[in-house]
Structures are given as C-alpha cells and as structure tokens.
Symmetry: D2
Subunit: 162 residues, 4 copies
Amino acid sequence: MGYAVSGLATSTGKAEESIMSLISVEEFERLGREKVYVVAQFGFKAEYIEHGRAKMRAPFRQEFLRPGGTVSGPVLMSLADYAMYAAVLSMIGPVEMAVTINLNINFLKRPAPKDVIADARIIKLGKRLAVGEVSLFSEGEEDPIAHVTSTYSIPPDHVQVE
Amino acid sequence: MGYAVSGLATSTGKAEESIMSLISVEEFERLGREKVYVVAQFGFKAEYIEHGRAKMRAPFRQEFLRPGGTVSGPVLMSLADYAMYAAVLSMIGPVEMAVTINLNINFLKRPAPKDVIADARIIKLGKRLAVGEVSLFSEGEEDPIAHVTSTYSIPPDHVQVE
Amino acid sequence: MGYAVSGLATSTGKAEESIMSLISVEEFERLGREKVYVVAQFGFKAEYIEHGRAKMRAPFRQEFLRPGGTVSGPVLMSLADYAMYAAVLSMIGPVEMAVTINLNINFLKRPAPKDVIADARIIKLGKRLAVGEVSLFSEGEEDPIAHVTSTYSIPPDHVQVE
Amino acid sequence: MGYAVSGLATSTGKAEESIMSLISVEEFERLGREKVYVVAQFGFKAEYIEHGRAKMRAPFRQEFLRPGGTVSGPVLMSLADYAMYAAVLSMIGPVEMAVTINLNINFLKRPAPKDVIADARIIKLGKRLAVGEVSLFSEGEEDPIAHVTSTYSIPPDHVQVE
C-alpha cells in the first residue's frame, strides 16, 4: 500500500533493519498538493518514501530555466526542502508543524534542462531536531548537481494530521 | 534614473563613499521578469539597489502559506537568492552568468502572512567570489524572520548582458 | 564590575535599550580558562561582553600560521565559536551546557600574521535555540577576514554554574 | 608505499575505478606536522588517504573535554578541516595553497571522551573549487557525532610542494 520497507544504508555503510515509513507516498502527496504551495506551483512528485529516506522529482518545465539555460537555484532548494520534509515525516508521521530551521546548499554543477531528482536521508533524528542531507541529480546523470544539509525542528508534541 | 547613490554601512560601521550601483532597479526588474522564472512566478519586486546592497519584496499571496499559516521556506529562500543576485550585480554590472554556489539559511521565527522584505549586503567582493548576507523581515516588523549567507561565483570575464 | 551596559545595534539599525550582560568578562574568562581547552591552548582573551554581544581576541602566535603565512582556519573557527558562547551566555547567564549545534563559516581573505578579533552578535534568542553571527578581523584592518553564523542549543532548564 | 588504491563509493552508490591518491599518508603527515599548527598541537593522525577520500584520527586527550565531559567543538571542526585537506590533496597533489572557503558543521550528539575519527569524501572536484563532506565518529560507535560540508579553493596553478 505504498509503504516502502527496504533497508536504509547508514553512513557507516551498514543496513538498518527494515522499518516502515510512518507516511505513505500517497498520504505525503496529498499533504503536499493540499498544503504546500510550491508543490502545486512547481509540480513536484514523490517517487518513494522509506523510513528515513525520500526521493522527490521535479518534472522538467521550460519556466524552471534561468539565464544560461540551467534549472534555477530556487527550484533546487525547494525540491531539496520538500524531500527533507518527506524524510522527516517518514520517521515521525504526518506532523504538519515540523519546520526547517536551517538549510545549507552547495551548487556543484549547472543543472541541465532535465528533470531534477532529490534523494534525502536522515542522518540523525533527535527528540527536538532532525538533521539530514539531500543529494540532487539531473535525470540520468551520475554526478550530483547540488548537495544540501538541513535541520528540522520537531514539535514537542507530535500532533498528527487528522 | 533609478540609481541609488547613498552610503553603505559596512560591517565595521563606517560609511563607504557613495558609489553608483552598476545596475538600476529598472534594468534589474526587466532582467528578472524576462529571465528568472521565480520572479514571474512569485511576483517579487525590486525596492532599491545601491552599490553592494539591494532590497527586494515578496508581496503577500495566499498561496505562499504552508501548514500553520506561515509563509513557506522556499519563498524566503528564493527571495533571499534574488536579493543577493541584485546586490552582486550592483557591483559587477548586469552579468547574467553570476551564479550561486552556496546558500545557508537560518529560519528564525514563523513568518506572518504578510509581505516579506529581503535586505542583502555584500560582505566581500573578490575577483572570483562574492559573499553576502541577507536579512529577511515580515512587513512592518523589526525582528528578522530569517538570515542568509550566500556565495556567488563571478565569471572570469564579465560578459555583460546586451 | 566588568558588566558592559552600552546599547546593541540590531540588524534593523535601531539601538536596543541597555540591558546588562548576565555574565561579566571576568566570570567568562574564568569559565573559559578552567573549562574550555582551546582557550588555555590558544590563549584567547575576552575583550568585552554586552547583552547579546561579545568581542574576543586571539593574540598572535607564530604557531597559528599555516602554509602561506596566514592564520589557520581552526584558530578562526575556535575563536568564533568562543565569541558566540560568550554572546549566548550574556543573555542566559553562565549556563555551561549551552552547546553549538551548527556553525557555518565563510573565509573571506587570507588573515595576516596579526591578532584576530571576533565580534559576535545574537540575531535571535528563542526558548530552545539562539542564532548569531560573528565577524572576524585582523587587528587594525577594516575588511573582515571571515564571517560566521552559528546556532546554539539552550538546555530546557538553565542550570547555572555554581 | 602508502598509496591507497581501493575503490571509492560515490554518492550514486557505484564504485569508481581505482585511482591512486596523489599524496601518500606519509607525505601528508609530514606536511601536517611541519606546516599545520593544529596537527602538532592536537596530535591528529592520518589513518588512510585514497583518491578523493581520507580518514583522520584525533587520539583522545583529557584536555579536549569541555564542560559536560564531551570533546569540544573546535577539536571536531579542526579534525574535519584537516581530513578535507587530505581528501583534496589526494586529488590534486601536495598543493599547499589550497584553502578552505566554507565549512558548515552540524553537531549531532555529544561526543564521548574517546578518539574521534573523521571520514572525508570529495563530492565534486572542479577546476577552481572542491566540495566535500566529512562524517565524524567517536571510536567504536556507529552513529556520527557531527557532519560537515566544506568547500576548498584550488589555486589556478597547482604549484606543488617541492
């Protein structure tokens, strides 16, 4: 039913036992479409969500381009933030009020006029904060176009949606 | 005709001599509208551009809101990046190919459903890199809602637009 | 007795009313010397501490130099972190367990073989987090050599030292 | 002769062909001891250096501790910077003048009073800039204690040491 259960490679290279994501791709997409403006605006799609990991796609649009024919930075930052949001919710459930407190992005190469894929991974989930990293790729390419680290604040009482 | 010439307070608190911006508000707005997608999409406005400094505004839209009734992070990041772009161009002229290589944002408080103003300032302009900071405010409020530092890469040969 | 009470210029350019620092230069120096290794190791000095602001100095040592004859990055990062610590304690008192959760540094120019001065300012003090920025200068120079933003975590119960 | 030649896992999960490091552990340790103050001061050791990857160790010292009995932030930042330096030199050779231009660190958990290990990996090597990430661990533990991303500036003409 849309819950991914495959293993998550941690930074130490070991596979964690499979734990179900606490939000499904379908739930997350509905939350995104209804509540998060940039998703509707930019047309982002959730590809998959595992426990502590999420992959999002920005299907290419002509309007994403900036001078030089490359996908603009704000599209990349928005997609990375959205992927982090999914990765956080996969571990704490559909808590709307989880918010970004820090995002640091390094742009690595000019993104070709193609779909962009963001692959987010939670590095550390604490009681109050979650830290993760996101690698961004142009469709079909191997070298990342951008790399993000981000910190989310988790509300003390996880009031879940609905 | 739109070039601001007033002094720029540097981090050491001294006023620099007045130097004209190398791009006018009108030129920058035209560049933005025609070439930068998020500007057209999000409706950002240039308020003023001085040498090494730029103020941009995101007039409030209902669609900017995220769960909790606050302006979403991507709107803030996009506006900050746009303000940095203007501040960089104010010092090097309308060089389209200046690109962000790093952006680090700290979100400080939940932004009220109001206009957002970004105030960007170049801290250091080198031959290859420019570093600046951007403070973001909700209209009419004193405490910043977010703080950004960002690095731009400046092309070796400043091929100017037109 | 060592408490600075002068005004603090905020990012909006207005002077806040004078509020006393909750830790004196003398108290902070004692805490530093006794408890923080790098202080003893690197010989950092507290110059002044106001409410929300602190200035620290790294008196020059030959051993600070890295290849090229410039002061090494770790000295700058350590001094910036120490200045942030002082600025945070100026607002919450001598709470030992306040810890850095994020530090982002941009190196702006090669630091001359001189004293380094770090000027830290709290941008936002929340209940759980404090965000500030630090400008670093070579003694007697105007242009900053590095710029830091940093986030501190404040323990829920401010158990004060002694 | 100390050159590691094993494969490097990239962010896309594929193993790159084995390419020799352009600096050996022995060469790097000599450069560190002779030229980089913190190495002598803090006693850092190079564990291994591959093409695009480096592992450094800070053997535990009582003086590393800060209030709370944890290893202090500056030790972690210095070790991470040193590991990045090694990872950069592994790809460009012993170029002394490669310098850090940005370092962003997220502290993830309080480091136990143990050796610290930093594992650095180059994400992108360009003509002028190298971007990498560093995961820091306490000896024998699986969860990282800190995560760093960093950008190095590479001098236009790689004048190599001797």
